[in-house]
């Protein structure tokens, strides 16, 4: 293994903490779930495993958004589009796996199509019963959408707020489109009632653990890949585009190509997150496209600290844990808390929690050095 690459991945303290926490979770959660008896205090219930798996997907999504926002300055309010499209690809595969076990017992058509009185499978559902093809589509469709959108947007130099608003319009248009029954994706209800994945029962705790591990591995790999990108020469250019776009262009870099590359890569990460998310929650419906969800992702990143990657993952974890807790315990308070978080973080914590920690550290070291000097 290339030493410089290894060093690069380990370079920051935050990165090291991220890998260690991820590794510990990947080892101990399955162990405590399968190895410890049900009644024990150390037992991790399968429900928690699924919940943590979900958080991992969110963290992956947050890293994807942080890559474009934190490092390239593109505030995307439409990453839910790629996330949900990836989820739908996985959902279609899972739907086809149900086969004749649906309510209507049709071997070929999913239940909602039988219900809508459709006679044959729409063309885009063909081949989705093969796992490799479905996964290919899971990457291809969001990737193509991101490529087409980015190609247009970056070439015509749509930037800043305008770009944010049209990404929002993009996901909003998809939301409306997927609500239509005629689209062939189950309309309002989306895709659900999944039975098994690659022949394994989705409800069994073994599959839950496997999905959790898959999410953890995907998160780790995506993190490492993003780090590698940022540390590379390309990463330097990406940051240059963020800080001084015109200057980067004048120096001779093809700014639109750089942006397009990062944008599509980020969209693919979001799609993977969506595909891992769907089997763990058991449903995908058009509300995943909602623009408000896209803004929420941005808030995870802002809360954790943008432009650090591990901060995004931390933010996703913390905000979603708070959401899970509040919506169950104090549903009234949740929106107040979330809204307050938006306002408070932007006003008082421009660098997020990670920035706050760094600030404390410098203050501590400063105090220590002062003490040393006076001593």
């Amino acid at each position: 293994m290339n030493h410089s690459l290894l060093r690069l991945l380990w370079a920051e303290r935050g990165s090291r903490a991220f890998y260690i926490v991820l590794l510990l979770a990947a080892v101990f959660v399955p162990l405590l779930n399968l190895g410890v008896a049900d009644g024990s205090a150390l037992h991790v219930p399968t429900y928690t495993v699924a919940l943590l798996g979900k958080y991992m997907c969110y963290a992956l999504l947050a890293i994807a958004v942080d890559l474009v926002w934190g490092y390239c300055g593109i505030l995307s309010l439409g990453h839910t589009a790629f996330f949900a499209l990836g989820g739908y690809a996985m959902g279609m595969y899972l739907m086809r796996q149900i086969g004749a076990r649906g309510v209507y017992g049709d071997a070929l058509l999913p239940d909602f199509m039988v219900f809508l009185n459709w006679k044959e499978l729409p063309w885009f559902w063909h081949g989705m019963d093969m796992f490799w093809f479905a996964m290919l589509m899971m990457l291809f469709v969001p990737g193509l959408l991101a490529y087409a959108f980015g190609w247009f947007a970056f070439r015509s130099r749509v930037t800043g707020v305008y770009l944010s608003i049209i990404t929002q319009a993009l996901t909003y248009a998809l939301l409306l489109a997927f609500f239509r029954n005629e689209m062939g994706f189950g309309g309002n209800n989306g895709l659900t009632d999944f039975k098994d994945l690659l022949g394994f029962d989705l409800q069994s705790s073994g599959v839950r653990i496997a999905l959790f591990l898959a999410s953890a591995i995907a998160l780790g790999l995506a993190y490492a890949a993003c780090r590698a990108v940022i540390a590379s020469r390309l990463g330097r250019v990406i940051e240059a585009v963020r800080d001084a776009e015109s200057r980067a262009r004048f120096i001779g870099y093809r700014v639109e190509n750089v942006k397009l590359w990062v944008w599509v890569f980020s969209a693919l990460l979001a799609a993977v997150a969506g595909a891992l998310y769907v089997p763990q929650v058991g449903i995908i419906n058009p509300s995943e496209f909602a623009p408000i969800n896209a803004i929420e992702i941005v808030v995870w990143v802002a809360v954790g600290g943008r432009g650090t990657l591990y901060g995004a993952a931390l933010g996703a974890l913390l905000v979603n844990y708070a959401k899970t807790y509040f919506t169950a315990a104090l549903p009234e308070v949740w929106l107040f808390a979330l809204g307050g978080l938006f306002v408070g973080v932007t006003l008082f914590l421009p660098k997020g929690i990670v920035g706050l920690i760094a600030q404390w550290q410098t203050r501590l070291t400063k105090a220590a050095s002062l003490k040393e000097a006076s001593a």
Partner: protein
């Protein structure tokens, strides 16, 4: 024989026939021999008394005889029968139930004289029933009575009612009225009715004249009558034997179709304009905060929601005066939303100038807080805001085109708000300062403009306008916590499409987006139309990132 006497004869003959068939059954209590035929009875009271025990066909004969003998006086009784308010009480009297009495009792009224008859327990009353056929006949009879009414509008309604159910007595009544009619509108309507009747004439010339008269009339009854004239009779031949009449009828139908298509187009355009007005109203406040100040206010939709809730609260405070409450709600909403806007500017936005993406996030968070606040205070359910009297109903232009008043008022209201804003920005000293600060802040400050104060005032102005738009929206859609959310993306689109910083651009872009989506809707469905418009906008912004009317000069940079 005059028309009226002919009509009377026809009526009598019909009534007599009916009486002969079912008369004995109707008068079971008395000896059949003594019961006179209904057509022989001329006393209205006696006729009424026979109603409760009569069969449906007899009731119809009695009703016709009543009109015959009592004239307009029979109107209330027939109307009561039609509406199911005619009862017979314990003393076999026929009474009209007129509103609620105390407890289980109801107030009674004499059907002919209209005099109050005290009250009775509703349990002691037996309803005098009617069936569909009888109700149809009653409507015809009442229409004939109304033909002689003093009010021309009532006469016109009566003629149209007769046209809907054109039987021999109705035709006779129309003919009788034709020459006595003084109002030209009513006379035209009667002519149309008679022409429709003439379509069934034996003489081809009469039919031809009738068809020519009907050409260009938009009423659906006329259209149906013409259609049935040229329709197939089942054997491949058309019902009308005469070639000339057929050609004329085809031409008339074609002309009506054309006119209907034209009016349909006008209606679509109107719908588009009213949707466009809603879009402009919801976007125009944003055109100020976003366009002039460059602040992304994601809580803009919630400021509209505050305005809508202000209308609701005002109506709750003054339940007796809905119109006044709604009108008062307009300035109130301006104040409430404007104050909220100033608070937002002072509390949040002012720390974030020059960081548009952060502003977006902070105001979005604020919008969540405001939504939840409304949910906690007013409940998460939609509240209903009533429509003032003068805004309900519609402006009927002809049979093919009627414009609802509330949509019409929205268009006017939008223009008014737009004009007022233009005046404020172009003709007041505040407007001058606002423009100065937005064009060159440093220079404006150097000239002694207190830019901080202007920022707050501008933001308040934009927010106040959003509140006013909310009052207008409360008349069109449900007032609920999600009201604002559903408009925010649309309003941003309108502003960006029109060109940031341009009020005229906002007006034109909102109107054209409204018209385009209404034009698309019949072909694609509402949701698909919306998707297409969004996709169009996304592509448009790629081509012209600064919108339809980009700002020129130095203010455009940055």
């Amino acid at each position: 024989m005059t028309a009226s006497s002919k009509f009377r004869t026809i009526l009598r003959a019909g009534a007599l026939g009916l009486a002969l068939c079912v008369g004995p059954a109707a008068a079971q209590d008395e000896s059949p021999a003594e019961a006179p035929a209904i057509s022989e009875i001329h006393d209205p009271a006696t006729l009424l008394a026979a109603l409760p025990d009569a069969g449906y066909a007899d009731k119809q004969a009695i009703a016709e005889q009543l009109v015959q003998s009592a004239g307009a006086q029979a109107g209330p009784a027939l109307r009561a029968l039609l509406e199911g308010r005619l009862y017979s009480d314990a003393n076999q009297r026929v009474v009209v139930v007129d509103g609620e009495g105390e407890g289980e009792t109801v107030a009674l009224r004499d059907p002919l004289s209209g005099a109050a008859l005290g009250s009775a327990a509703s349990a002691a009353l037996t309803k005098i029933g009617s069936n569909n056929k009888l109700r149809k006949a009653l409507k015809g009879l009442l229409a004939r009575l109304d033909l002689a009414d003093a009010d021309p509008d009532k006469r016109l309604a009566a003629v149209n009612e007769a046209l809907r159910n054109l039987d021999a007595p109705a035709i006779a009544a129309l003919r009788a009225r034709r020459d006595a009619e003084t109002d030209s509108k009513v006379r035209d309507a009667i002519d149309v009715g008679l022409a429709v009747a003439d379509l069934a004439s034996d003489s081809a010339d009469t039919r031809l004249a009738a068809v020519q008269r009907l050409s260009g009339e938009l009423s659906p009854d006329v259209y149906n009558a013409l259609q049935s004239l040229v329709a197939d009779d089942g054997s491949g031949k058309r019902r009308e034997p005469d070639e000339r009449v057929l050609m004329a009828a085809d031409a008339a139908i074609h002309r009506i179709d054309n006119q209907r298509a034209l009016y349909g187009g006008v209606e679509t355009l109107f719908f588009g304009l009213s949707l466009g007005s809603v879009l402009v109203l919801s976007a125009i406040g944003l055109a100020i905060t976003f366009g002039v100040m460059g602040v992304i206010n994601m809580a803009h939709g919630e400021l509209m929601m505050l305005g809508a809730y202000t209308a609701y609260v005002m109506q709750q405070l003054m339940p007796q005066h809905i119109t006044a409450a709604t009108l008062l709600a307009i300035p109130m909403a301006f104040i409430v939303a404007g104050a909220a806007g100033i608070a937002i500017e002072r509390g949040i936005v002012r720390f974030l100038y020059g960081r548009p993406l952060e502003t977006l996030l902070a105001t979005f968070g604020l919008s969540l807080v405001l939504q939840q606040l409304v949910r906690s205070v007013f409940s998460p359910l939609n509240r209903s805001v009533s429509t003032p009297e003068f805004m309900s109903g519609s402006l009927v232009i002809n049979d093919a085109l009627s414009l609802t008043w509330n949509r019409l008022y929205i268009v006017f209201f939008m223009l008014l708000v737009f004009l007022a804003l233009q005046l404020v920005l172009k003709r007041t000293s505040l407007g001058l300062k606002v423009r100065a600060v937005s064009q060159n802040r440093a220079m404006a400050r150097a000239m002694g403009v207190r830019s901080e104060w202007i920022d707050a005032a501008t933001f308040g102005l934009g927010s106040g306008v959003a509140g006013v738009a909310g009052v207008a929206l409360s008349q069109l859609t449900n007032v609920g916590p999600n009201l604002g959310q559903s408009y925010i993306i649309d309003s941003f689109m309108v502003v960006v499409f029109g060109g940031v910083g341009s009020l005229w651009g906002t007006l034109i872009s909102g109107m054209s987006l409204g018209v385009v989506s209404k034009l698309l809707e019949p072909h694609t469905g509402a949701v698909m139309a919306k998707i297409l418009v969004l996709v169009f906008l996304i592509l448009f912004i790629q081509r012209r990132p600064r919108g339809l009317f980009p700002q020129k000069g130095r203010a455009a940079e940055g």
